[in-house]
């Protein structure tokens, strides 16, 4: 076998293949364009070796480590993997993307397509009269179609409130299959009593009731803690 060693290469064009038995090192960009099927294939057999290694040597937080593009020309960024301040990676699947728990590809029922956490301000409305003061706080986590909310509804001044108690202002519309899906509340300052918070489908709220279906007490100082889950889109 003959061997050629050169100190510098100018641009070389050709239609053949390049086979390297050992290492191929490029300080610049390696471009792969054309071909059919998988354009870059990595085969390895040792358990101690990685199929592909991506090293962010600049140690930049949120630095792009891998980008996924589609479209003509340079394409448009659809999803990416970023450096998480050298403590992991952020895998961003895009607003229309998902993580799919199948072997062969996308199926809607196996796709985790949403995660979000944040705050909201619920409302509490009596069937009759009105409150003179309320403290209303809510936090939510949405995983796929499942919405989990925690709320603190404190009656600072009961006014002349009476009758039923309607909770509104949930962070996502409920699109479950049935009305009156039950969840729980606990009165946290005076009685320790528990009851039901029912969420209606096709709405943004529900009702607070005692477990026997009677109305809750509209009493100054009462603090209702609510833990609820429901379906959205």
């Amino acid at each position: 076998m003959s061997e050629i060693k050169v100190d510098a290469l100018s641009t070389v064009s050709g239609s053949g293949s390049i086979t390297v038995s050992n290492n191929l090192t490029a300080s610049g960009i390696v471009g792969v364009n054309g071909g059919t099927g998988g354009q870059v294939a990595t085969n390895f057999s040792s358990a101690s070796a990685m199929g592909m290694k991506i090293n962010d040597t600049n140690s930049g937080n949120l630095g792009g480590m891998l980008g996924f593009y589609s479209g003509s020309g340079a394409g448009t960024l659809r999803a990416n993997i970023q450096n998480a301040n050298n403590a992991g990676v952020h895998f961003s699947v895009g607003t229309g993307g998902s993580i799919v728990f199948t072997q062969n590809g996308y199926t809607a029922a196996n796709a985790l397509d949403d995660y979000e956490e944040g705050d909201f301000t619920p409302t509490l409305t009596p069937g009759g009269g009105s409150y003179n003061g309320l403290t209303l706080v809510g936090k939510y986590t949405k995983i796929g179609r499942l919405v989990s909310v925690q709320m603190r509804l404190k009656i600072d001044a009961s006014g002349n409130a009476s009758g039923s108690a309607t909770v509104g202002g949930l962070p996502f519309a409920s699109v479950g299959s049935w009305n009156r899906m039950p969840n729980k509340w606990r009165e946290n300052t005076a009685t320790g009593a528990c009851g039901q918070f029912v969420v209606n489908q096709g709405s943004t709220g529900g009702f607070l009731q005692n477990d026997d279906g009677s109305n809750i007490a509209h009493t100054t100082g009462r603090e209702y803690l609510i833990n609820a889950v429901y379906y959205s889109t």
């Binding site: 962070p171 996502f172 519309a173 709405s203 109305n215 007490a217």
Partner: protein, 90 residues
């Protein structure tokens, strides 16, 4: 080095047969224009809600989707969804 805080409505959606509008407001903290954090606050606008204090974008969606027919259907839906209530307290 300038730390700035701003809010923006970064997602406005219309959901379901009752055309409920969901609004996500992001609070963004930036340093010299580079985003450091983003937190979310959400609220919803049902067909029977007061939208007078909403943003122009949300008002436009309310005007488009919350028609009199949708409002009437939602009001009936809420009536039909009420649980059986005992009028007594505790």
């Amino acid at each position: 080095m300038a730390i700035t805080k701003r809010t923006e409505q970064d997602k406005i959606e219309m959901i379901g047969t009752h055309k409920i509008i969901q609004v996500r407001t992001a609070t963004v903290i930036e340093e010299d224009g580079v985003e450091l954090s983003r937190t979310f606050n959400r609220h919803t606008i049902a067909p029977d809600a007061d939208s007078s204090k909403e943003s122009a974008d949300v008002k436009a969606m309310v005007a488009q989707f919350h028609t009199d027919a949708i409002k009437a259907a939602y009001t009936k839906h809420l009536e039909d969804s009420k649980p059986v209530l005992d009028t007594s307290e505790e």
